[in-house]
């Protein structure tokens, strides 16, 4: 049970708050103190659009403790339109229909429950891009 971690990362988990490097202008997620692209100090807050496409995916049948509720589920690497790759679950999708290159958007969902004395942790997942929000 890591309550402080949940509190500290809420802007990243609830709104994909990253950074943009003031030196090389690349988008960074998750935020860092040093830009991974040019090694200069990383820059001001920059909230990402949450749109992107599936770079890779896997449907997991054996899952770690704490994630049994939704097994099997599909985890993806999502290539955000601004550049960064993000690891996250896909939701609201039939796993048979997932393809590399599929357009997706970020939504907020429950990531896991820790039981009666623990937290309910929320964060980003990605769903197929809805027509009306396209």
């Amino acid at each position: 049970m890591a309550i402080a971690t949940t509190w500290r990362t809420k802007r990243q988990r609830y709104s994909l708050e990253g950074e943009v490097c003031p030196t090389c202008h690349q988008a960074i997620f998750p935020p860092r103190d040093v830009c991974p692209h040019c090694s200069e100090p990383a820059g001001p807050v920059h909230t990402l659009s949450g749109r992107g496409e599936v770079y890779s995916f896997t449907t997991m049948y054996n899952v770690p403790r704490g994630f049994e509720e939704h097994r099997p589920y599909t985890v993806a690497l999502v290539k955000l339109d601004e550049g960064p790759l993000v690891t996250a679950q896909l939701t609201d999708v039939n796993e048979q229909e997932v393809q590399i290159g599929m357009r997706v958007e970020m939504v907020t969902r429950k990531l896991r429950e820790e039981g009666s004395e623990g937290q309910i942790i929320y964060g980003y997942k990605f769903r197929p891009l809805l027509q009306q929000s396209a």
């Binding site: 971690t5 990362t9 990243q12 998750p30 991974p36 770079y55 890779s56 995916f57 896997t58 449907t59 997991m60 049948y61 054996n62 899952v63 770690p64 403790r65 704490g66 994630f67 049994e68 939704h70 589920y73 985890v75 993806a76 690497l77 960064p84 790759l85 993000v86 690891t87 996250a88 679950q89 590399i100 990531l111 896991r112 942790i121 964060g123």
Partner: protein, 387 residues
């Protein structure tokens, strides 16, 4: 800097060792290595281990093991670098002997993964990834490798059964290793029928959860011959030891399909040893998953980009092949007790170079390489040994 040689080896069987605790299997390996080298004590024990804290509620592990082995008053420390803990511990041992700080060092790796139930072990293994940005999304270690394999198959247009040859080779070699977890051959049908763990990784693409311990005795090369006993042809010299890292998370890599740390650490190692890939007689690579075997072959210079999987055929990677790999079963068949694996790999290179590999002996082996990978390519340690 002094040259360093290995003068003793010891190992426990690999498997579900429910009747033995971590301290017992560590003792089995260390006692065997000490007897092999004819020593009764040492200056230090460096112990590779990943999961004792997460799975067994036990840290302060090296002192626990040294105590249990009757090694009091010596230096003892655990070295942790996820699945590369074993090779990372070996590097610490090499640095201690090469620098002149110590003359006789025990390097061991030990892991106990089957005392806990599957999903707890799965959660423990996921601690090798970024807890805040990977593991919180429910991705397991198999899952991370599956993300790489799916993209690899897409980018390089690789068929579903392309990786089967790695597992078939590993199992064929494991049959003749008395310490291997799986001593039975498999074929393409076994591979095709294997259940999925995380698509596209099936049970036969993946190394098993298991227990095991292995140990090596290091001394300065100039004094090595006084330790080698009757059944060894002689000491095995460490020609190169190199480590390199990459981003911890796959999502932070510019090119997730290239093992940059394997490239860097192997290039450093080739330079130190004064060899090229053509000089390597056998390669104990980190086949925790078949995709890792393919990507390792590419990053270390044995295959072109996107073509490592093409080497998974008998004539290329078998004992008689161009580059024998996983010669005693590899991580797939010997088993992958994570923090011990790097030590097992080097121990098996020693067996090959001293002519003690039995039915799996690579003819005329003089130079062997071992590469141990921590995380999904984040820490990669390469050793080259020679006789």
């Amino acid at each position: 800097m002094r040259s360093v040689s290995i003068v003793g080896i010891g190992q426990s069987p690999v498997g579900e060792l429910w009747d033995r605790s971590l301290r017992h299997i560590a003792y089995d390996a260390i006692a065997a290595a000490m007897q092999d080298a004819g020593i009764e004590t040492a200056d230090a024990l460096f112990l590779g281990n990943m999961l004792s804290g997460a799975l067994l509620d036990q840290e302060h592990l090296a002192t626990l093991v040294a105590d249990f082995c009757g090694l009091r008053g010596i230096e003892a420390a655990k070295v942790e670098a996820a699945c590369a803990s074993g090779a990372a511990a070996l590097r610490v041992g090499i640095m201690a002997v090469a620098s002149g700080l110590h003359d006789v060092v025990i390097v061991a790796g030990v892991e106990k993964m089957t005392d806990t139930v599957g999903k707890d072990t799965t959660a423990g293994l996921a601690t090798a990834a970024d807890a805040e940005y990977e593991a919180i999304h429910g991705v397991s270690f198999v899952g991370l490798n599956a993300l790489l394999m799916q993209r690899y198959m897409y980018e390089f247009d690789v068929p579903m059964d392309a990786f089967a040859g790695f597992s078939i080779n590993a199992h064929r070699n494991g049959v003749n290793n008395p310490n291997a977890m799986f001593r039975r051959a498999i074929n393409e049908e076994t591979y095709r029928k294997a259940p999925m763990i995380a698509t596209p990784i099936n049970m036969m693409d993946s190394s098993p959860v298991c227990d095991g311990a292995a140990a090596l005795i290091l001394v300065p090369t100039e004094r090595a011959r006084q330790y080698t006993t009757g059944h060894h042809r002689g000491p095995v010299q460490i020609l190169a030891s190199a480590s390199a890292n990459d981003t911890l998370a796959i999502h932070d890599r510019k090119d997730p399909l290239f093992l940059e740390a394997a490239y860097v650490s192997s290039q450093k190692a080739y330079l130190q040893a004064g060899v090229t890939p053509d000089d390597i007689d056998l390669f104990e690579l980190h086949d925790a998953f078949t995709i890792m075997a393919a990507m390792s072959l590419e990053a270390t210079g044995f295959a072109r980009r996107g073509e490592g999987w093409r080497m998974a055929r008998d004539e290329e990677i078998g004992i008689q092949g161009r580059l024998p790999i996983s010669t005693m079963g590899g991580l797939k068949s010997r088993g992958h007790p994570v923090g011990a694996t790097g030590v097992y790999q080097v121990l098996e290179v020693v067996q090959q170079l001293t002519g003690e590999a039995g039915a799996n002996q690579v003819p005329g082996a003089r130079v062997g390489m071992a590469q141990n990978i921590g995380g999904s390519g984040a820490t990669i340690v390469t050793h080259i040994l020679g006789v």
